[in-house]
Symmetry: C2
């Protein structure tokens, strides 16, 4: 008899990985009791007895024998319906749905408290790297100053092809799609939303504050041009898509997702290909770096397995930091030093730079380097969305300390 009786929602890449990982992890003593899928007739890469597969979610939700629901479906709305229904019924859930969790975390926390039931989701951020659990349990004090990292494997794979293998961006993007590192519609990854959702979840466990997606500056890599790539190469830096949450003072913090010039001396410089890497900086321990496979069927499934076993041993997130007496406030009132490249759009006239430090003009391409408030980048976002414009951040926070 198994201790953990799983009702699994979703049998895509991650769902199949979970079936395989559970089979390998004998001491976990877990068993998949039933799997709910959208199309039971679809051919799968794993063999499961036919009677275990259903299209009716209530065959799982109503089954008193199932003591844990694992939810790894792609549709965030359906995922929220299923997870909130399960929590209301007092059924614990392990989920890997970052979009759903990032959008609904305050409600999901409330549901956990009201129904005295646990929701774990370490797999939702950085796959197999145990970021959430460590932020919640180990970096569980106010020494934490910053979490910064490469949270999206697809965009990092593309940028890595460009900067380490000298491939043109378009070719690298196509290779990523062909290899399955990026979706056929890659905008979720390359426009920074995948990183954003992970950053939102990380911030709840890092600083005890939930910030809604719409309030966070998120800018991806899809406008990058050969000019930008050459500019970075000449300066011997790489452009990487970086997500960060940074404490500015005891009572203030900021967060955003944005391409960044990364110098060789920084830990994230060497996070290549589809890997993820996270730097956790604190007041006494300086920088810690965690590195590993951020996505993929088995790495994500192994993280789900860790959460399943942790739940079985009574573990739950306590969201301790949300109850701190001096929870810091989110602000976008901070100056960033940025590079903005443009051709037709009169960027220096449209964006309210506090200071322009460099200006390059040519017949086809121009750029400015200057300081601008993050709040103004959000206010004048339309300018940055024009197809001839691309913005890259210089890492300015704690420049003297930075690695």
């Amino acid at each position: 008899m198994s201790d953990i009786k799983v009702g699994l929602f979703g049998l895509g890449t991650v769902g199949e990985g979970i079936v395989n990982v559970i089979a390998k992890a004998r001491n976990a003593n877990a068993e998949i009791k039933r799997v709910c899928v959208r199309d039971a007739s679809k051919k799968r890469n794993v063999t499961l007895p036919k009677e275990k597969i259903t299209e009716d979610r209530y065959e799982i939700l109503d089954d008193p024998d199932i003591n844990l629901i694992v939810e790894v479906i792609n549709d965030p709305d359906a995922a929220f319906e299923i997870v909130s229904e399960a929590l209301k019924r007092g059924i614990p859930v392990v989920s890997g749905s970052k979009t759903m969790i990032a959008r609904h975390l305050p409600e999901l926390i409330k549901l956990q408290h009201e129904n005295n039931v646990s929701l774990l989701y370490d797999a939702s951020s950085c796959g197999s790297i145990p970021v959430i659990r460590n932020l919640e349990e180990y970096y569980d004090n106010d020494l934490l100053l910053e979490v910064k990292g490469i949270l999206n494997g697809s965009s990092n794979y593309i940028l890595s092809r460009v900067f380490d293998h000298n491939e043109p961006y378009e070719k690298a993007l196509q290779t990523a799609i062909d290899l399955g590192f990026a979706e056929a519609d890659p905008s979720f990854d390359i426009d920074g939303y995948d990183s954003l959702y992970k950053l939102i979840i990380i911030t709840v466990h890092a600083l005890g504050v939930y910030v809604a997606p719409k309030d966070i500056f998120t800018y991806g890599i899809s406008h990058i041009s050969d000019f930008d790539i050459n500019y970075a190469r000449e300066k011997r830096v790489k452009i990487k898509l970086v997500a960060q949450v940074v404490k500015l003072a005891d009572n203030k913090f900021t967060m955003f997702v944005m391409p960044e010039f990364v110098t060789k001396s920084r830990y994230i410089y060497s996070v290549d290909d589809e890997y993820n890497g996270v730097v956790i900086r604190g007041e006494c321990y300086d920088r810690q770096f965690m590195f590993g496979k951020g996505a993929g069927s088995l790495p994500t499934a192994s993280s789900i397995l860790s959460d399943m076993v942790a739940h079985h041993h009574g573990y739950r997130y306590e969201y301790k930091k949300m109850g701190y007496s001096d929870v810091p406030q989110y602000t976008t009132d901070i100056l960033l030093k940025v590079y903005v490249r443009f051709s037709e759009t009169p960027v220096p006239e449209l964006l309210p730079f506090a200071e322009i430090q460099e200006r390059y003009v040519s017949k086809s391409v121009n750029y400015v380097i200057g300081e601008i408030a993050l709040s103004d980048l959000m206010k004048f976002r339309g300018v940055l969305d024009r197809p001839d414009v691309f913005i890259v951040n210089f890492s300015r926070f704690f420049e003297d300390l930075d690695q």
Copy 2:
């Protein structure tokens, strides 16, 4: 009123760090009630009210108001006396004493069970890097295959001066002592014992098996010569002091501490200076890399703080893996590929190599490269201890997979 009322044993580098860290971490709500030291009259770098300092351990052990003992003294025998006495009295303990823990872990686990009391010691392995907690809680299943890393900052600092800064070994050693990275008697660090004790603790939480120090091959870097350094440089590799525990099959594992040739493609190649780096390899998540400050006053103290807060929230090690149905057996019956350098000692005649693959002979220095059983390295240890002999391991396990 504070929630955590600490009785602190030891006010050396780490103890002072704890006083400082507790002052910074306001939300931890901890207070140092009393500190026991060997010499109360000694001048300290932290200011504590005089009445808080005592030389009598019972002023802490008998104080009903103290709800947590933090033990960071240097003497392992005294540490064991204090910690076991505290556990017998049902007082929970956070300890950073790796030697004491590695030597007495079976008894300490028994004392925890018998007295239903918790002992946490994440700081004892790799300072601020949360290795123990992650092995215990996150990599808490039988997917784990290997933990390998640079666990000692002093020896790594010395080797880093040699390989990255072209300093002679003797000068590097002296610099390490001058900077406080190594003790005046540096043998504990450079002969591998510090790494060994950490590896023993790691193995209990990685695989659920305790192996006594005397049963583990431990060989340090003190015999390294310019010849070895040049040999490594010519091959474009670094020599690093590596501790590893490796599953060989479902039912077998091995472990040892030994210098190793590390190629550029491996994660630990870039662990330089006084840093520690640990690679955790598993069946589904491949390799995860954790990197950070492994020692020092504040990094170690921040790890102690994490354990203090974790204890306050009810956390304790469950040693789950020790109860698995198929705990693997320790073996030294495995062939290693090694380089052995010598001058007078007739190494090829004295060591029972299974195969010699390369042999270099000159007037002053010779070496052989060949395969030899780990058990034979232990049996003929005396040969390796001769002053003209030095051995370096080639990383052979899972060569195809290795990074």
